[in-house]
């Protein structure tokens, strides 16, 4: 059943397995965009599949490996264990696990140090808040989401030690109405700076902010200022397409030796996208403080703690 790799042409074959719909305008959509760029820029033969359950995920990994794919992205920490099981049988395939847990043979984790960007966003929120209450709305309590939250909290505390942080989990990445109500519930108790990491469900947060004067929002994963141009101060961006493209290119060129790929502020994959429209609200000197913090993080002199995946 293990179809021989040489049977196919020596085209560079790349597959992406997403744990949810690629139409989610967020985590999965970003990866899908990356896959498209891999096709366009590297001329790779691509394929993708949604695999929601552990059973489907392992099956998908195995199927791609068996079909001779050189590179298989498992888009989420949950692919780590099945990938480790599958990889033993397919040494010629490289499995890349986004937000992966550890390096294990040909299973390569792709680590996003998102907390470095959310730290900066947290600083902004700490300065901008009038009420001293800031809020975070998460889809589920997943490691990459908690990681971002950790950075956000540290950043805010760094500029305002007494800041209060409110946290809500929706247990859904789809239910945008829930995201909105959760945001409104926070606004009612005085939260005036909101950060989210809930993909499609998080879009409700922007809707809530649009209706609530004086509330500012901090986007996640993509640059989300277009969702509420007069409310979004900045977004903690993970440039997924770029990250995927960078690794794929290394592998295509054969320059790749197995190691954990870790992207932080220095890589450009992780960055803080500021909304220039709202920079007028920034108190004088803030821009410099942010820049300084960013530089220190890149230089390694400022360490943002976080449960970064091992």
């Amino acid at each position: 059943h293990r179809s021989p790799v040489h049977a196919t042409s020596n085209a560079f074959k790349v597959a992406l397995i997403t744990p949810g719909s690629i139409a989610d305008a967020a985590w999965n959509a970003g990866a899908y965009q990356g896959l498209q760029q891999i096709k366009d820029s590297l001329g790779a033969a691509i394929s993708n599949i949604e695999a929601h359950t552990p059973a489907e995920q392992e099956e998908a990994l195995r199927s791609y490996a068996a079909q001779g794919y050189r590179l298989v992205f498992g888009h989420g920490y949950e692919f780590q264990q099945p990938a480790e099981r599958v990889s033993r049988d397919y040494p010629n395939t490289i499995f890349i696990i986004t937000s992966g847990q550890r390096l294990s043979g040909n299973v390569i984790p792709l680590v996003f140090r998102i907390h470095e960007a959310t730290y900066l966003a947290g600083m902004l929120a700490g300065v901008m808040t009038r009420t001293g209450k800031i809020g975070f709305i998460g889809g589920m309590e997943l490691p990459p989401i908690k990681l971002g939250l950790d950075g956000w909290i540290q950043g805010a505390r760094a500029v305002r030690p007494d800041v209060q942080i409110r946290i809500t989990y929706l247990n859904s990445f789809d239910d945008a109405a829930a995201g909105k109500e959760a945001a409104l519930a926070m606004i009612r108790i005085g939260v005036d700076q909101l950060h989210h990491n809930a993909d499609a469900a998080g879009l409700g947060v922007f809707s809530a902010a649009r209706e609530s004067p004086g509330v500012l929002v901090y986007g996640a994963n993509g640059d989300q200022k277009s969702l509420a141009p007069d409310r979004v101060v900045a977004s903690a961006v993970v440039d997924l397409p770029r990250a995927l493209l960078v690794v794929s290119r290394e592998i295509q060129h054969g320059a790749f030796t197995p190691h954990a790929e870790s992207f932080g502020l220095g890589s450009g994959v992780i960055r803080l996208a500021v909304n220039p429209e709202l920079e007028r609200l920034w108190p004088t000197g803030l821009a410099e403080r942010i820049k300084a913090a960013s530089d220190s993080i890149i230089a390694g002199t400022l360490k943002v703690a976080g449960q970064a995946p091992r």
Partner: protein
């Protein structure tokens, strides 16, 4: 001062969250009064949400609402054809219809909305002059979108339809004793089909409320089980529109409460809050329904 503002905010949120539930449940209560239990309203609601998004994207909120109703009606038509006309098992037909609508909206959404998140025009909050200033009641009930107001109109309308019109009498007869209704000259199949369609239209509106009054966009599976909840709400509300609306408000309150609790930073695991509305509904079913039975012929094909 702060407390009363908080209370108003929470109560208004209950109304807002309860609106789509009430819309769907009022429609379903009509269907169930005719003897049809329609698990397909989850699908009708999702289709309504999708219709609302597509309609609003191309022709503004008004066409969004219109398209939502049409989409809800379409899904209900399938259910009526299978469960009323062909007299198939209602539970299984409803499950199938929801499954199909979930797949179809997902499929179409991937075609219609890929490439960025399309933000839609949403319904503005309309302040009803004068009454909005009534303490508590005003800001809670009369600073909402037109779809909430539509709900205020639909509840008495549905109630009047069921208890004040000839059609309502016939409809309830179909739900109590289809054979007796036939003997009285009622066209049971036609009446039930109409009731199911009304339920579908209301479910479509509920979908529109989600998209156009709350979120401003469509996401796959965004109804997240609200249609199923509406069915429980109908039983909680003892199969009458006013009771149903009250139950929807209660459920909306329980949901709003869980966000408030989470935001307030409780140490109780948040999953308990997530489960709270459902546990509450179950407990309420046990207490409230008790010996009160639904329409005698509910779920029976004729």
């Amino acid at each position: 001062m702060i407390d009363s503002a908080l209370l108003v905010g929470f109560a208004a949120a209950s109304v807002r969250v309860g609106t789509p539930l009430a819309l769907a449940a009022v429609g379903e209560s009509i269907a169930e009064r005719s003897g049809m239990i329609n698990l397909g309203i989850e699908g009708a609601m999702l289709a309504g949400a999708f219709g609302a998004a597509v309609g609003a994207a191309h022709g503004g909120v008004a066409s969004g609402v219109g398209a939502a109703v049409v989409a809800g009606l379409l899904v209900a038509t399938v259910f009526a054809a299978v469960a009323v006309a062909a007299r198939a098992d209602q539970i299984i037909s409803g499950t199938a219809v929801t499954l199909g609508a979930t797949g179809l909206t997902g499929l179409l959404a991937q075609r219609a909305f890929t490439g960025g998140n399309l933000s839609l025009p949403i319904l503005p909050v309309v302040h009803v002059p004068v009454i909005e200033h009534i303490p508590l009641v005003g800001p809670v009930f009369f600073r909402q979108t037109v779809l909430t107001y539509a709900c205020y109109v639909l509840i008495p309308l549905a109630s009047a339809l069921l208890w004040r019109t000839r059609f309502g009498l016939e409809l309830r007869a179909c739900g109590e004793a289809p054979a007796a209704a036939t003997a009285a000259g009622v066209h049971v199949g036609r009446t039930r089909a109409l009731a199911v369609l009304m339920g579908g239209a209301c479910a479509g509106l509920a979908g529109a409320a989600l998209v156009l009054a709350q979120v401003g966009m469509f996401t796959e599976r965004m109804t997240a089980g609200r249609g199923f909840i509406a069915i429980a709400i109908v039983a909680l509300g003892r199969w009458n529109p006013w009771g149903t609306a009250a139950a929807a408000l209660l459920f909306g309150g329980a949901t709003a409460l869980q966000y408030t609790f989470q935001a307030a930073g409780s140490h109780v695991p948040y999953q308990l809050f997530l489960a709270l509305p459902y546990l509450l509904a179950l407990a309420a079913l046990g207490m409230a329904v008790g010996r009160h039975r639904g329409p005698a012929a509910l779920g029976q094909s004729h």
